[in-house]
Amino acid sequence: MFRKILLGASALALSTGLALAQAPASVDQKLEALDAAVKSAQTSGDNAWMLVSCALVLLMTGPGLALFYGGLVRSKNVLGTMMHSFILMALATVLWAVVGYSLAFSEGNAFVGGFKYLFLHGVGVDPNPDYAATIPQLTFMAFQLMFAIITPALISGAYAERIKFSAMLVYTTLWLLIVYFPMAHMVWGKGGLLNAFLGGKIPCFDFAGGTVVHITSGISALVAAIYLKPREGYQVEPMRPHSLVLSFIGACLLWFGWFGFNAGSALGAGGLATSAFVATHFGAAAAAVGWLLAEWFRSGKPSVLGGISGCVAGLVAITPASGFVDPMSALIIGFIAGVFCYFMVVVVKNKFGYDDSLDAFGVHGAGGTLGALLTGVFATNAVNNALKDPSGKALPLGLVDGNGGQILNQAIGVAIALVLGAVGSYICLKIADLTCGLRATPDQEVEGLDLSMHGEEGYNLEA
């Protein structure tokens, strides 16, 4: 009996001793494992949303923008116009892989990145903590690529129905190199001049590309429209959109894809993404209402083309603001953008007489500028508290937070984008003109770009 107790006691002591000896290691290991599991779960969640966002942003170009623009041109140019968008899904991707990502996102000077990521060297599944700590850098690279695809595609609205295809390829390639990659680096790249979060000298808020995407493409479009001169028969022959049904589908796909564009720019699947998602939707909705009301009031009828143009204008304007403003501010920004862009497209364009065929400047240039400036007004740390002082307190962002000086920073960002876009676009147009000849011949233009450039027709109804 006694022996039995002794045995039991010693067994107990042994097991307790063992447990005591093992306890610290086990807890550490467990914490470590838990930590890894949490990180892995967050990576899975964030990466899932970001991959979907990549696909959503690609969907904006093809078929979204291709349908939107394709429906607005005459039927003899529908394929050529769609091709202007589609070819960039291929061309910009190759350029991005070889050199673009590096020039935009590797560390360089304040204006352009370096060559560290040339040929995507060193860009793999490990995150790049400077940009997005929870997703593979490859995902970040692919997401940013989709922006480099749609931005030059937006310009095609200005030179539609009259540019030579070879010249368009030269122009767009040069444009990405001279305008887009540097601008993306300045605003989003580490050490970029305007980067508010990674050491920029002039902190400019541009959540998803108001300056980088819309102002650069919009002003470049205006320069292209003026350089190319109006289409044959402009203001003499009727140039009605050949299918607003296509444009309608395209615009709705743009609205849908824009959730990836803006909410995806949160680079994760958290609250900021939701905030940007809601702001995006509200901006589009209010702008559609604004444009339609302005049109109804001025010309007597609210048109479908007006409604869809308004929603795109609102999406453009809310883009820089989407991760910084609350839903009510988004409604205000959207409504103003709808009315303002209507005015730009309907009144200003006709006053000056430039042939921005599909209103790339009136919608993207004007809406982008308005949005970038209003971001300085409505940005608030109640939505985005990523900027903190050394004590960890969130810094005021825009005028509503009491930081009126931000509007000046935004204006500097706008001015840089306007100048870079205008000058860069002119240089690219000039080179394309000297090497290929920019414009289709009058005969080719009358025949239509589908046949003269691509040897096919969009609608073979007798076939």
Partner: protein, 112 residues
């Protein structure tokens, strides 16, 4: 033989076809055309650009019939195509010299 050319509103085509079938007219040719008479076109506005659309879509029916049946067919056609509003169209009647059935070389009214 006479040829009847009727330019009518596109939405009246079914009614006209049924009415003609009802009085035993077996064949016709339909052409989609655009045009205008006294009916004015309409204005379309795309992003502030106004377009005056004068030529409106119409349907042209062509029939070749024997002289004896012209009045009856024209009356039936006109009644079926009439909505009473401006833009209902017009009917023209032309003499026809001959008709030939390609399949078997029938000539004249036998070919109709």
């Amino acid at each position: 033989m006479k040829k009847i050319e009727a330019i009518i509103q596109p939405f009246k085509l079914e009614e006209v076809k049924e009415a003609l079938k009802g009085i035993g007219v077996d064949g016709m040719t339909i052409i989609e055309v655009r045009g205008h008479g006294r009916q004015k076109g309409h204005k379309e506005v795309y992003r502030g650009q106004e377009y005056q659309v004068d030529l409106l879509p119409k349907v042209k029916i062509e029939l070749v019939v024997s002289d004896a049946r012209v009045d009856e067919i024209v009356a039936t056609l006109a009644a079926a195509a009439r909505s009473g509003k401006i833009g209902d169209g017009k009917i023209f009647i032309l003499p026809v010299e001959n008709a030939i059935r390609i399949r078997n070389d029938d000539h004249g009214e036998a070919a109709l």
